[in-house]
């Protein structure tokens, strides 16, 4: 009885030791020489594996960087400037200037601004609603509010507000771009975060003429050109009855916001306006 237990232990022990020896030998014989920098770069990355860089995961991205040996067009939007600097120092390269970006929702057709004209009881999917009809508010360019963007976001950064029916982006946004791809109406845009997180942009995508656009939504861009004329920095262009503000030219002077007759230009994180400000007073107000 005792001896049989002993034999078993010895036999299994020998098999184990033998296998270990073989494995050790195979591992050292067929070792894949990997650039140690890949590990170093991969460690520097945020390990979000979100795909925002265009690669399947952080490690694939690290391999790509080390392989090409340059940082042109290779950016981790999640890590941003800081991470790219660290990677550049690992590889001894010049760090590219990374602008910190954030997702913005270019529609303000809330339940209040664009009241429901129809009732939809199909599946809660923006992609399906988009192929079916204009959406309950009636605007064929507006947000459908079923949250395809919310479901695409792996950072818990965008949520449809049940009170307005519109998605809102919070500070957790890493600019991975997943929501931009998910939205069937191309409503979400990646914009620079801006100085002190301040941004001004047009919250409308409607390309109809003014009267048609306004019929479905209080705050639609009507293509009146007032903002374009008002902007001293040539930052606003109008095409297809829709204004667009170039974030790199915009100086956050807020003149356009004041003249827009439908209030479709949104200012984010700008301090409250001084009440009786004269029209030609300097627009830069510090909080």
């Amino acid at each position: 009885m005792d001896s049989s237990i002993l034999y078993s232990i010895i036999t299994l022990g020998l098999i184990g030791a033998g296998s270990a020896a073989i494995l050790y030998w195979v591992a050292s014989k067929f070792k894949v020489e990997e650039d140690p920098r890949i590990d170093a770069v991969a460690e520097a990355l945020p390990q979000a594996n979100c795909g925002g860089c265009g690669y399947a995961g952080c490690r694939n991205f690290a391999e790509a960087i080390v392989k090409t040996g340059s940082l042109d067009n290779l950016i981790c939007p999640v890590g941003g400037d800081e991470v790219m600097k660290r990677i550049a120092s690992i590889l001894g390269l010049e760090a590219p200037a990374v602008e910190s970006m954030i997702a913005v929702v270019r529609c303000n057709g809330s339940f209040q601004n664009s009241p429901s004209k129809f009732q939809y009881d199909g599946v809660k999917s923006c992609a399906f609603a988009h192929i079916t009809f204009t959406g309950e508010g009636g605007c064929p360019y507006g947000c459908l509010g079923h949250g395809d963007c919310e479901r695409a976001c792996t950072f818990d950064a965008i949520h449809v507000n049940p009170a307005t029916g519109l998605p809102e982006v919070n500070d957790k946004c890493t600019a991975c771009g997943a929501c931009v791809k998910a939205c069937p109406r191309n409503i979400i845009e990646m914009r620079p975060r801006g100085k002190k997180d301040r941004r001004i942009y047009v919250t409308c995508m409607n390309k109809e003429k003014g009267a048609v656009a306004r019929k479905n939504c209080e705050v639609a861009c009507i293509g009146c050109n007032k903002c374009v004329k008002e902007c001293r920095f040539d930052a606003i262009t109008l095409s297809n009855n829709l204004a667009y503000i170039d974030p790199h030219k915009c100086t956050l002077c807020r003149k356009c916001v004041e003249v827009c007759p439908t209030n479709c230009i949104l200012e984010v994180n700008l301090p409250p306006r001084k009440r009786a400000a004269q029209s030609d007073s300097p627009a830069e107000i510090t909080a």
Partner: protein, 443 residues
Amino acid sequence: MLKTFQKGGVHPHENKLSANKPIQPIDPPAKIFIPLSQSLGAPSKPVVKKGDEVKAGDILAIGEAFISSNIHSPVSGKIEKIDDYFDVSGYRKPAIFIEVTGREWNESVDLSDELKEDIILDGASIIQKVKELGIVGLGGATFPTHVKLMVPQGKKAELLIINGVECEPYLTSDHRLMLEKPREIITGTRILMKALGVTKAIIGIENNKPDAINLLSKHASSYPGIEVCALKVKYPQGGEKQLIQALTGREVPSGKLPIEVGCIVQNVGTTFAVYQAIQKNKPLVERVVTVTGTNVLNPSNFLVKIGTPVSVLLGKAGWQPEKAGKVIAGGPMMGKALLNVEVPIVKGTSGILVLNREESFRPKVQPCIRCAKCVSACPMGLEPYYLARVSELEKYDLAENGAILDCIECGSCQYICPSARPLLDHIRLGKLKVNEIIRSRNQ
């Protein structure tokens, strides 16, 4: 035992409220607009411009692409503009707007009611004429008829099937047409047989229309090649593949057209339009439309000029807008809800169904209980619960392998599901995505 198709199928309530109502012509209003996209395939190109005077039957737009069709004016009048309108889904689509001045016809059109049974044209000229006069499939899919009649190289047509099934609940336009124009339909059948060079035709009619079966059998009896076949009532028997299987037992292979098994299917409405085109030189500018539903005081069958707004028909049939919840173009199973009743009747509109508010909403969605009723109901032998799920999860490769593209969007699965799952919604989206993927793969 009556024939029917093998796999799946469901039995929705028939609700043929307007079956006894004779077809009643209605006048177009003072302004009509004709969409430029009225058939499957590419939109047609306008050949008139603002300010032009047209007579009824004059050509307005030509179909240039291979799959595309000509469009003619249903009225005499002046072209007001060529501009966009908002279609049934609320999106912009181009249309020709006409101010109606009268009902003067182009002289070449024979407007008499007299029956012409002798077929003078040969096969090729018939197809050419069908193309010129803008005939498309009137069953709902609006596939250009001339394309269907051109049998591809290497294939042979041996049987013409005339689809008088009308399996959609509520709709009665084909039924009425068969009762009122039986001899024209038989002549149309003979024209189509000549165009295809076949000697045999079967007219399939569901057993819930015994009057039409008797009448057409009587008129077909003098033509040995034409047979009228009664079918057991089952939805979706009007689907091409289902009808072929019911009548011949042949199964069209996955992803292939009926010609693969030697069949060509044409709807009875189309057959009547072909008769009018060939024997009377009349283009397709009007069609029979059923206006029905519990909301409507007088469910009716109207002969309507293409371009007449839906609201005109609803007014004539006496709808009650305050009680209405949903207006559907087509039948309850495959139709599409309208966002706006000012949209025009087009070549593909077989009916307008108005549902009361309480009938309009879907039941609450429950979790799938794996009962497999959807699998038994699917006439294409698919697994709807699975296809819907993988589409929802965006696993489009699995959807493609599950033959999602074979789905004919009949809605049997969604109709039968005890959990009221939106199966077809997900499947439709999945089909769209799979088609996109296949297209990009082939580029």
